[in-house]
Amino acid sequence: MDLDLTEEQLAFAAEARAWLAENVPATPLPSMDTEAGFAAHREWEAKLAAGGWSVVSWPEEYGGRGAGLIEWVLFEEEYYRAGAPTRVAQNGISLLAPILFGHGTDAQRERFLRDMTDGTLIWAQAWSEPGAGSDLASIRSTAKRDDERGGWILNGQKTWSSRAPWADRGFGLFRSDPEAQRHRGLTYFLFPMDAEGLTVRPITQLDGTTGFAELFFDDVFVADEDVLGAPGDGWRVAMSTAGNERGLSLRSPGRFCAATDRLIDLWQKNQDQDPFAQDAVVDAWIKSEAYRLYTWGTVSTLQEGGDIGAEGSVNKVFWSELDIAIHQTGLDLLGPAAELRSASAEAGGRWVDDYIFALGGPIYAGTNEIQRNIIAERILGLPRGGDGRKAS
């Protein structure tokens, strides 16, 4: 479809396509949630950076190309279509960086941003706690002021922290004002994973890899220079990440279009004449198209100065369910061979791996039930309550 792209934008996409065709590894890298795979993905980040493709939308002074949103979406389409590796640096690049740009100090931007572009600095996210999942504001990990050393002392436990087993640093919220309730009195910290007193215990996920970990903080000292935003203002600062995670940056349409392309290939190969299977493939295509067109619409809105707001919740429910539907259909097409995962399986077992990955979508980044609450209350204007939550 004609999207009104300029010559420059088309040339940009062509350049990306050519570079990716030349550089994407011919055999997929091992899972980034294994030690060897993590290292291989780190190297890939360095290669991307050397080609100038790791953070196209960042300003040039930090290693980006200063590209606009449209170029970013185009790049992502090319990236996924080329079958390029998963971005091990995503926590930092997509979730933390926008906050560093918006709320960080110049010194923080200088210290962190460039190292984030080439795999030197990989971040883990540390929001959830054993008692604080959907109800994130019930965080109990603490930060105590240490005026003598000029910083804070962290205690408590974080969990489900993605990339934490091999990450270099983590970011997360801690209760710095013991008197304050819920969203108040929280502070946003950026801490080194090898800090004294910090224990990382990897957790094996459904697919057998260690994609996340528990973090135990036992008097971990963090200097003032590692506080992001003002002390006590952590919730507001963090929520700008949540918007990014649900909205545009986490799941670009290229990802679903590429998965749908693979699904169509699989259908061609099997020539499955079952009309129900055919309908499911067609529906995956329709929804990927819808997501792609919706994203272009969002890009237009953002370019005209609008913002996503609670619409990000509509988006998150849609892509996470689409991801499962595509991969469930893939497994259906594989029939009795669907459970196979070893190298000799279809696409080296990728359908199983990607299906298991998709299953997490409705849970992380705010569960889909929480998103539906947000849609009902903030978009449809229905009254809060009915599930025990108090007004915030």
């Binding site: 619409g297 429910v317 539906r372």
Partner: protein, 328 residues
């Protein structure tokens, strides 16, 4: 970019809303469903004055020279108000298929026409309002007489079998295909409008009705169903816009089909949910909800069932020769 609705399109939508509301809004559909065609005729006249009937006709031929995006903007409003009458036939399907004199009369509203397309739209809608009827095939158009009206699931729609009543004129098959796709796009827009209205009505009711000492909109069992409707409608909309921009291009057919499938599925979900939220009052003919509940089912099966449109997409994307990417 093309994805943002323009000021003019917003103004067109508002003008349509005003005309319909000045005639009592749903009162027009209500009257039609009780056999009184006068309000529907009055509405037709006023919308003709606004230019809606000439929306898809070139300015040189007395029309507005509107784009397919204008078409979806306008037809969404007709669906939103459950406006009765053969608008798809007169304003979207036939203008490019009839002779210039009739085209001009359709544009100014002095003629109202309906059509059947054997095997696709087997019955002609609302011949009782019309001055002309036509049978349209893949490559011809034939004047026709309408048989007695038959009831639809939607009491505001009357359906007629047509029999030829004059010589057939040959048509360019491409022009016919394009005209059918344009009308189908209009039907998808009406479905989207009806779906949006159903959601609005359900949300409004959920904020009012109390049970167990609370408004029912506090209950998550309903909230989440309504949120699902919001998601489905939100993601049907860009497919309509995409199809409007694609109409008449090589990928136009499958884009159209995607829009119709998504709009039908979303509108039917909206209908089911709106009824459930209303409880028994929604199950009555007396309540206005019935106007959209039944309209949605009529429009979902007219202008190509979702089964037909899915198979048309399958033919486009699942051919061994051409592995088409959604982005191509």
């Amino acid at each position: 970019m093309k994805f943002v609705i323009s000021e003019e399109q917003r103004a067109l939508a508002e003008a349509i809303d005003q005309v319909i509301e000045s005639l009592g809004g749903t009162a027009v559909a209500r009257a039609a469903s009780e056999g009184d065609a006068a309000p529907a005729r009055a509405l037709w006249e006023q919308l003709a004055e606004l230019g809606l009937l000439g929306l898809c006709i070139d300015e040189a031929d007395g029309g507005m020279g509107g784009t397919p995006v204008d078409l979806i903007v306008a037809f969404e409003r007709l669906g939103y108000h459950a406006a009765p009458g053969p608008y798809l036939e007169s304003a979207a399907l036939l203008p490019d298929l009839v002779d210039p004199a009739l085209r001009e009369s359709l544009a100014d509203g002095s003629a109202i026409a309906t059509a059947a397309i054997p095997g696709f739209v087997p019955y002609a809608l609302d011949a009782q309002l019309c001055s002309q009827q036509f049978i349209v095939t893949a490559d011809s158009i034939t004047p026709a007489e309408a048989g007695e009206g038959q009831e639809s699931i939607d009491a505001a729609r009357t359906l007629h079998e047509l029999t030829p009543a004059g010589p057939a004129a040959a048509l360019d098959p491409e022009a016919v295909a394009l005209a059918i796709d344009r009308a189908t796009l209009g039907s998808a827009a009406m479905l989207l409008g009806a779906g949006e209205r159903l959601l609005e009505e359900a949300v409004a009711y959920a904020k009012l009705r109390e049970q167990f000492g609370r408004v029912i909109g506090e209950y998550q069992g309903l909230k989440h169903q309504l949120a699902n409707v919001r998601v489905a409608l939100t993601f049907a909309r860009p497919l309509l816009k995409g199809a409007a921009l694609d109409l008449g291009t090589p990928s136009g057919e499958r884009s159209m089909s995607a829009a119709k499938v998504a709009a039908s599925d979303a509108a039917i979900l909206a209908a089911r949910t709106a009824l459930q939220v209303h409880g028994a009052i929604g199950y009555t003919q007396e309540h206005d909800l019935s106007l959209w509940l039944t309209r949605v089912h009529a429009l979902a099966s007219a202008w190509g069932t979702t089964r037909y449109h899915r198979s048309r997409i399958a033919a486009s994307i699942l051919t061994p020769a051409a592995i088409l990417s959604p982005a191509s």
